[in-house]
């Protein structure tokens, strides 16, 4: 069964080697685009290089193969695109014969946790704003809203208390709002964790789009908010010196919108490109 170990051909010349590497790179690129992990890509490309070199060695015996000979061989072999088709086929067929007990692909847990945390953040934000907005009337916190103060020798009216200053407001903040408000950090971390886990799972986990969403949602929200604050400040200073406030507002609003769309688009595209390929 062993193939004959013919002597190694002398090193390929520059052009031939470059053509070989171009072919191998093209195959690896296809495998990367179809989300094959690095170890898989390396294994496949190494096998392919071995095959090409051994086939060339069998053909030319003890001299160095030429570029034409390599090109002829490559035309007889599968083109790089063939690895895409087979990557999909093999990934979608975990086993040609299915046996009981094989797990189907599952949604990534870190991504699911990140999505839940975003929901929690939205809920917590609403609760916090409500707690800040609500004022608790004095009679709720005290049986007598008007209290005699002996130090100043007169009756004073008790101030209304904010809901977040009450014991139940504090409890809500501790158990609901604080976990919700650390969501920006937690969700971003979970997003990147999800991307990494999905990439390394070789199609055993899914949800890469949601993981990318988790990874970008809060950073983009923060970036957009910071941009708006900055532009708002610039606008305020410009309006003080301008008689055409409305026109300035329209121009700045359009420029800001264009800037935000550009920033968001670049960021989303970069994260998605990273997420869509495998490390």
């Amino acid at each position: 069964m062993n193939a004959p170990d013919t002597p190694a051909p002398t090193d390929l010349d520059f052009e031939t080697r470059a053509r070989l590497e171009q072919h191998l790179d093209a195959v690896e690129d296809v495998l990367r685009r179809y989300q094959q992990p690095r170890s898989t890509r390396n294994a496949i490309v190494d096998e392919l290089e071995n095959q090409i070199r051994e086939s060339l060695a069998e053909r030319v015996q003890d001299r160095a193969p030429t570029l034409d000979e390599l090109n002829t061989l490559l035309t007889e072999m599968d083109p790089p695109e063939a690895y895409a088709r087979n990557s999909i086929d093999l990934a979608s067929l975990p086993s040609t014969f299915s046996f009981p007990g094989e797990d189907p692909p599952r949604f990534n847990r870190a991504t699911a946790a990140g999505l839940i945390w975003i929901g929690w953040w939205a809920l917590a934000s609403m609760f916090l704003m409500t707690l800040i907005a609500i004022e608790v009337a004095p009679e709720v916190t005290s049986p007598n809203p008007n209290v005699y103060n002996p130090h100043i020798n007169r009756v004073v009216e008790m101030q209304a208390t904010h809901a977040y200053q009450t014991w139940w407001g504090v409890l809500i903040i501790i158990f609901l709002c604080i976990p919700g408000l650390i969501a920006p950090v937690a969700t971003t971390i979970l997003g990147w964790l999800g991307i990494t886990q999905i990439q390394q799972s070789a199609d055993e986990q899914y949800g890469i789009g949601f993981a990318a969403f988790n990874a970008t949602f809060f950073p983009l929200l923060l970036t957009n908010a910071a941009t708006l604050v900055l532009v708002g400040g610039i606008f305020t200073s410009m309006v003080q010196r301008s008689d055409t406030a409305l026109l300035t507002l329209i121009i700045i609003s359009l420029l800001t919108l264009a800037l935000l769309v550009t920033i968001d688009r670049i960021a989303i595209r970069r994260v998605w490109n990273y997420a869509a390929r495998l490390s």
């Binding site: 069964m1 062993n2 193939a3 170990d5 013919t6 002597p7 190694a8 051909p9 495998l31 094959q36 170890s39 898989t40 294994a43 496949i44 190494d46 096998e47 392919l48 290089e49 071995n50 095959q51 090409i52 070199r53 051994e54 086939s55 060339l56 060695a57 072999m77 599968d78 063939a82 690895y83 088709r85 087979n86 990557s87 086929d89 093999l90 086993s95 040609t96 014969f97 046996f99 070789a202």
Partner: protein
């Protein structure tokens, strides 16, 4: 007919690769040549090498790296115990299937 034949071959690739490794280890190109020597069962490298990578990941085959006179080190594949069990299950299934189809085809009008 051509498409049907291709689909059938595709479904048998894993069984063929595991069966080819049943008695002896082989490196990728060597395995490809062995499978291509089977009549009516030609496979290409873009099918076999990704499959070998997956079988390795699934721990159905193990890999031993050895020197190559021509390029990167050769990767010699060998069935693991799990791979042997998997092959036995596939073989049983395949034999039942072929027997059923033999009966069906022989009794066909």
């Amino acid at each position: 007919m051509k498409s049907w034949s291709a689909q059938l071959r595709k479904g048998l690739v894993e069984l063929a690769v595991l069966a080819a490794l049943r008695n002896e280890e082989a490196y990728g190109y060597q395995l490809l040549q062995k499978l291509n020597a089977l009549p009516a069962f030609s496979l290409t490298e873009s099918t076999v090498y990704p499959l070998l990578a997956r079988l390795t990941k699934d721990e159905l085959v193990s890999v031993r790296v050895g020197p190559s006179p021509h390029g990167p080190p050769r990767r010699y594949y060998q069935l693991t115990t799990a791979g042997q069990q998997h092959l036995d299950e596939m073989k049983t299934h395949w034999q039942q299937l072929t027997k059923s189809f033999d009966d069906l085809l022989e009794n066909a009008p």
